[in-house]
């Protein structure tokens, strides 16, 4: 009799992707249409920048699944971006699939030994070490001149090719970015959902998780590697857009931007990262006349979100929708995308 009760309780199956993942992937996919709908270079470059920013910020989003705040995004972007620049300029490799694979795999592989070293650190110590790491990578870009071109960077990248077809003009560059962004978002969505129990457990109580048999460090290391790889894809998109790999594109302080996108958009869901990037990159553009003001705006938004709107934009929207629907919200309007999906 009680057996029946427990099986009945388990009948409900939770979907692999929540509504947030579907909406996010659909939005990113929709950007493929932009070059066919407009020839306005302003809109195209804006879309390009948003996609790069959002993809890079996924590195922050992934690590935040385990409550780890990472400043390492620019490092791994740089590694991905410089890998592509070196391959294309020095070795003449221009196939977009090969380059994308390299932009993902090289940072991810480098992240594994690094993660092994630093993932034992928690909270503040993890933050500090990723910050230090970003400074080191920045200095290395300048110092390792034979490889990186030092302060001049690597200029004159050839256009990438898809099936032998050159992707050279503005709209092609946007299509390349969209492809890289979609890949990054898809990998992140699958990865964070596949291991959502593990990540949520590490975030909430890693001591308990370990006592139940979870090898927390393996998941942390894996997440660090995937976050590095996805940031590397963003680095590829960035150097491809600029046709140059230069240290200033990966300034340590830019890590703050990626964190801001994720937090302001709402760190609980992948949609938050995308929405954060859309809003803030557009805002930066809107205030472009006084471009130097954007850090101040970011700062203000960070403080406001932290103090009064913990869930960020998506968190607030979710709450509002839930309130309107009463207590029976489902699907998209889930406050905790980690484990609790599909409550009814």
């Amino acid at each position: 009799m009680s057996n029946a009760t427990v099986s009945r309780l388990l009948e409900r199956r939770s979907p692999f992707f929540s509504g947030y993942e579907w909406v996010t992937l659909a939005l990113v996919l929709a950007t493929f249409a932009v070059p066919f709908l407009t020839v306005n270079p302003q809109i195209m470059s804006q879309t390009n920048l948003i996609l790069i920013a959002a993809t890079a910020a996924l590195g922050v989003y992934i690590m935040l699944r385990m409550d780890l705040m990472s400043f390492a995004v620019p490092s791994f972007m740089a590694i991905g971006g410089y890998t592509v620049a070196i391959l294309s300029i020095r070795l003449g490799i221009t196939d977009v699939f090969v380059l994308a694979a390299a932009a993902f795999i090289v940072p991810a592989l480098l992240a594994i030994p690094l993660g092994w070293l630093i993932l034992r650190l928690k909270g503040v110590y993890f933050v500090l070490v990723t910050f230090v790491l970003t400074e080191i990578v920045q200095l290395l870009l300048f110092e390792a001149a034979p490889l990186t071109g030092g302060a001049n960077g690597l200029v004159g990248m050839p256009a990438v090719k898809i099936f032998g077809f050159e992707l050279w003009d503005n709209s092609h560059v946007l299509l390349t970015t969209a492809g890289l962004a979609f890949t990054g978002f898809l990998i992140t969505a699958i990865f964070t959902r596949r291991y959502r129990y593990e990540f949520a457990a590490i975030e909430k109580n890693d001591v308990l998780a370990e006592s139940l048999g979870l090898a927390c460090w393996k998941y942390k290391a894996l997440a660090f590697a995937v976050a590095a790889g996805v940031s590397g894809l963003a680095g590829f998109a960035l150097v491809n857009m600029l046709m140059t790999a230069h240290p200033t594109s990966f300034a340590p302080m830019s890590s703050v931007n990626y964190i801001t996108y994720t937090i302001v958009g709402g760190k609980a869901s992948i949609l938050g990262t995308l929405v954060g990037a859309i809003l803030l990159v557009s805002a930066t553009d809107y205030f472009a006349l006084s471009g130097e003001l954007s850090p101040g705006l970011y700062g203000l938004l960070i403080i406001v979100v932290t103090l009064v709107a913990k869930g960020g934009v998506i968190g607030m929207l979710t709450k509002t929708v839930q309130r309107l629907r009463g207590r029976n919200g489902g699907g998209l309007t889930n406050p905790k995308p980690a484990l609790a999906e599909g409550k009814s």
């Binding site: 409550d67 705040m69 070293l117 630093i118 034992r120 650190l121 928690k122 909270g123 503040v124 110590y125 933050v127 500090l128 070490v129 910050f131 230090v132 790491l133 400074e135 080191i136 200095l139 290395l140 300048f142 110092e143 340590p252 302080m253 703050v256 964190i259 937090i263 130097e292 003001l293 850090p295 101040g296 705006l297 970011y298 700062g299 203000l300 938004l301 960070i302 403080i303 979100v305 932290t306 103090l307």
Partner: protein, 288 residues
């Protein structure tokens, strides 16, 4: 040989500056458990307030120093009470608000004073010379002032009742308030003391180094380096580490050139963080 000594003097004076910055930074971490990303912002603000008072208003430099100290002290106090205190138990939130505040502060300075470096030079010029060793008087004055401030901080922390209370609060916040310590005043005081020190350092140092809205970035990075090396929260550790950092930087700049000195330091600190997260002098890792 003379060059070696002169470089050592530069290293020591850099070390004394880093000490002032790191002391504040480490006090904030030790007592409030907060990594203050806005620390560099208070340094820049101190520099600009001093510049405004002395170069624009024409006040004596010493008065300008005191005003810079007071202004950064007051702003730090307000920030602690109005913003930081509301999220003090959530380490990620404290990080976000201090980071946000740094951006606001740096942008505010940029808007008010512009992106250009203002004309701000030390009121004393001239060079002290023994044999072939040169040492500018300005650096000597800054060194003296920094050393005096360091002595003051040590006296305050280790020899006064306020210092005893602060150290007790660093051990355990709840116990300290249960014991009836006026934590409502001491927490903002500790924060304000630290930001005041950063402001004072900025006012002293920017006229001989550089003053621009963004000079807080490297300051933050070097404060990180120093406190990690010394052990987060350790006052003695931060002091020793600051002099190590100063000397390495000075010698590396002369003998290695480029940014190799900084690179050496950062790698050293990364290694230390990994093999000994509590730093040279730190105790058990604070449970974060």
């Amino acid at each position: 040989m003379e060059g070696f000594i002169a470089t050592g003097l530069i290293g020591i004076s850099l070390g004394s500056q880093y000490t002032l910055l790191a002391l504040g930074f480490t006090l904030i971490f030790g007592i409030l458990g907060v990594v203050n990303f806005a620390h560099g912002g208070f340094y820049v603000m101190g520099g600009y307030v001093a510049y405004y008072c002395s170069a624009v208003l024409g006040l004596p430099y010493v008065v300008a120093l005191l005003i810079a100290l007071a202004a950064t002290f007051v702003l730090g106090w307000l920030f602690e009470v109005l913003i930081l205190e509301r999220v003090i138990d959530d380490h990620q939130a404290t990080l976000m608000v201090t980071m946000g505040f740094y951006l606001v502060l740096a942008t505010g300075i940029l808007v008010i004073f512009g992106a250009e470096s203002p004309e701000f030079s030390f009121p004393i010029s001239g060079v002290w010379r023994v044999g072939d060793v040169y040492f500018p008087y300005a650096n000597m004055v800054v060194l003296g002032a920094c050393l005096a401030a360091i002595v003051f901080v040590f006296w305050l922390v280790y020899r006064t009742n306020v210092g005893r209370s602060l150290r007790a609060m660093a051990e355990d916040r709840t116990v300290a308030s249960a014991l009836g310590m006026p934590t409502k005043i001491l927490f903002p005081f500790a924060f304000a003391l630290a930001t005041g020190l950063a402001g004072l350092t900025g006012a002293l140092v920017t006229p001989i180094l550089a003053l621009a809205p963004h000079v807080g970035d490297p300051v933050l990075a070097f404060s990180f380096l120093t406190v990690i090396l010394g052990g987060l929260g350790s006052v003695t550790g931060a002091t020793i580490a600051a002099f190590i950092v100063g000397l390495i930087e000075a010698y590396a700049a002369v003998y290695l050139g480029g940014s190799k000195g900084a690179l050496t330091l950062f790698v050293l600190v990364l290694v230390i963080l990994v093999i000994r997260p509590q730093g040279l002098m730190g105790k058990e890792v604070r449970r974060a």
